[in-house]
Symmetry: C2
Subunit: 434 residues, 2 copies
């Protein structure tokens, strides 16, 4: 029987299940332009209310994954791995993980988005390095990843066009927040990227997309099932995201921080370092490189011995960036015109640093986009001096605001102050990993 879009919508409206073939046809027509967006929008809203069964979500994921170009990597080289972090504030993890896994003997070729959100995407961060090119042909990209072990390119528009259409539509029809739609969007891109081993970091907390651990766990399980059912090795790790992960929030500031971690110039309890090591170690273990305690210590020595930094240098150079950024990041990366320090007004312990407030402030300073065509100011951002649980004295600097005056200094200061809460007794701080 011919596919009827109205019946398709009605099936979901009535709480019935689609057959995989129907979902394939829906995606095919959507990409060919033969199914109008208003019908897709009505269907998305019906999904918000009636959900998708696993078989439907799997069909949707695979149909989106194969709606465009699918990357295949040669199987005789090092194992190809991928990671994904569900959006959070100040997520600099990829900048450290990619060279680290390369140093450990894996390949990671990441396609990253520019992202609409608090700060720019990984691509925006890397572009704060003078000369760094993220627009790579498929051939260039493959060559860099195969030679260096890692590479980061901008979204390849010929990949998962179906997800591109649905994602944009969800954004403007209030149909973002649905587990099956979130999972299928993420996993379709991972499947099309061609990695065999995929680690998904799901962030939970006030600064993350997932506000509570139960929904994060449920999303994780679903993504694992979708990946496994598609022949990939998928694991997840849940991490806490109430305060920003790294000390830096803002594009150039995050690159500086990543370089610091890669130079092994941060303490062992630095959250960015810890999470990068954990992700790299788990991926190595998934590839059969050893038990997790073995791969963890291997990851640590790759950081400590400079192997990861060397891969980062190779990647920057291969992608046209100025290598000097590694030795003199302060000199090479752009600077904001003014730095405002926010001191603590009391003695005690830092209880929270609200990631959402910090993220929105950085966006409004010019570090993120409100709409697709906004130009990012990569020099602005916030450098946090104190982590939750740490002792602070009155007058100690809680954070620095790097600004070019996009919003008034008084507004910036007031908003930054409101993100920090200092208490008199040492607070319980949840661990980074859940």
């Amino acid at each position: 029987m011919a596919f009827d879009p109205i019946e398709f919508i009605e099936t979901k409206k009535d709480g019935m299940k689609h057959r995989p073939k129907e979902i394939q046809e829906f995606i095919r027509l959507l990409v060919s332009g033969d199914l109008p967006e208003y019908q897709a929008a009505a269907w998305l809203m019906a999904v918000i209310f009636n959900g998708l069964a696993f078989s439907e979500t799997l069909a949707l994921t695979q149909a989106m994954a194969t709606s465009g170009k699918v990357y295949k990597w040669d199987t005789d080289g090092p194992p190809v791995v991928d990671k994904h972090s569900t959006g959070g504030v100040g997520d600099t993890v990829t900048l450290v993980v990619a060279p680290l896994v390369a140093a450990m003997g894996m390949r990671m070729g990441k396609h990253s988005g520019r992202g609409l959100g608090h700060t720019g995407g990984t691509i925006d961060k890397l572009e704060s390095i003078p000369g760094f090119r993220t627009s790579l042909t498929e051939k260039e990209f493959r060559k860099i990843v195969n030679r260096v072990g890692c590479g980061v390119a901008g979204q390849d528009k010929s990949m998962t066009p179906a997800d591109g259409i649905l994602y944009s539509l969800r954004d403007v029809t209030s149909t973002v927040d649905q587990e099956a739609l979130i999972a299928s969007s993420i996993m379709s891109k991972k499947l099309a990227g061609g990695a065999m081993h995929i680690l998904l970091e799901v962030k939970v907390g006030s600064g993350a997309f997932m506000k509570d651990p139960e929904s994060a766990r449920s999303l994780s399980k679903l993504m694992i099932r979708l990946g496994m059912a598609s022949g990939r090795n998928v694991r997840t790790v849940l991490s806490s995201m109430s305060s920003p992960l790294g000390r830096a929030v803002g594009n150039a500031l995050e690159v500086r921080e990543a370089i610091k971690v890669l130079k092994n110039d941060t303490p062992d309890d630095d959250p960015l370092k810890r999470i990068a090591i954990e992700i790299a170690a788990r991926l190595a273990s998934m590839c059969g490189f050893g038990k997790i305690h073995q791969t963890r210590s291997r990851a640590r020595s790759c950081l400590a011995g400079g192997a990861a930094l060397s891969r980062f240098r190779d990647m920057v150079s291969a992608q046209g960036g100025d290598e000097a950024v590694i030795d003199q990041p302060e000199k090479i990366l752009p600077h904001a015109g003014k730095i405002l320090e926010i001191p603590s007004t009391s003695n005690g312990f830092l209880k929270t640093c609200n990631a959402l407030i910090i993220g929105e402030l950085v966006r409004d300073l010019g570090g993120g986009r409100k709409s697709k065509n906004d130009v990012i100011d990569s020099s602005v951002g916030i450098l946090i001096h104190s982590r939750p649980g740490m002792k602070v004295g009155s007058g100690d600097v809680l954070c620095e605001i790097h600004t070019n005056g996009r919003i008034s200094n008084s507004e910036a200061v007031q908003r930054a102050e409101s993100a920090f809460k200092v208490v008199s007794r040492k607070p319980e701080i949840p661990d980074l990993f859940i």
Copy 2:
């Protein structure tokens, strides 16, 4: 605060109530083309699940009513009335009611659709009269209605454009079947039409849009409230629609039947005659012309004395139609090439004549449209000889199929036969009025 379409959708998705101003703004942007259809579609689907409160439905109705041209009638002439029948099969009522209310001293200027459905709309029926024009300028239309007392014109595209957009969108996004959306669509058009007294006939049963009396009553109440809250005098009447109302189903056949009723050439228990008298009588009573038993007898005498027929003749002539249709309908109206008789195969009583089966058969014979641009064959249709409850003998003709061979004769016969059910004991037949 500025109107944000995404927040608007989200409000309904979350089961919250819109403020009237938001709904006005939504409709304004929809008509100006500044709100894309995919956002309207997502909102419509959210309405399917979370409904609209009365205040929202009223705001929607009034915003749609005033989204285009609003007719105003001079108040010193006879009262302006309107009727609406929620779609049914073989609905010829308007053709009788319009001249009848004119004869009784009211004015009825109807804008009618062509309708996508089993048979054509009132416009399609009238166009089977040679020369009859339904494309009238506003000036022509007013002049005819004011002079003759009745007139029927095609949909004025400058009226209720918002309803036009939403209605088309609902049709293709499986969001038709929602009480508030149905009521606001009907009432917006009635409000824009400018009549002060409005009688809504809501049909219930297998051949109607409303399948059960409870939902029909609920829809009626809502439409009355919407009309009254907008300063109009609104009443409803529920009628049964399991079998076709008239004997004829098909455009030219229905015109012939209407003329027969207007000539008072049908028995008093003829359903079409009964319902036309009831509607005209109720409208007259709503206008203060007397108690219902008085206006009923006035309606009967206007039919019996030829006053209604005379108004019909004036209307046909004023709208360019061939008046000879009244004296010689068989000669003037188009004929189908072949008539197939369906005889009863048993003795007994007719229990049901399934209106839906008859309606779909007439459509497939060419008498209705499946898509907007289909051309109607006004000559085809079905003439029913027996009404539910009547005695039938084996061999008695149950109905005639008037066909031009659009579908095979054997298929037409088989489908027509399946519409009739003859039983041995006299069945209980629900009254026409509920």
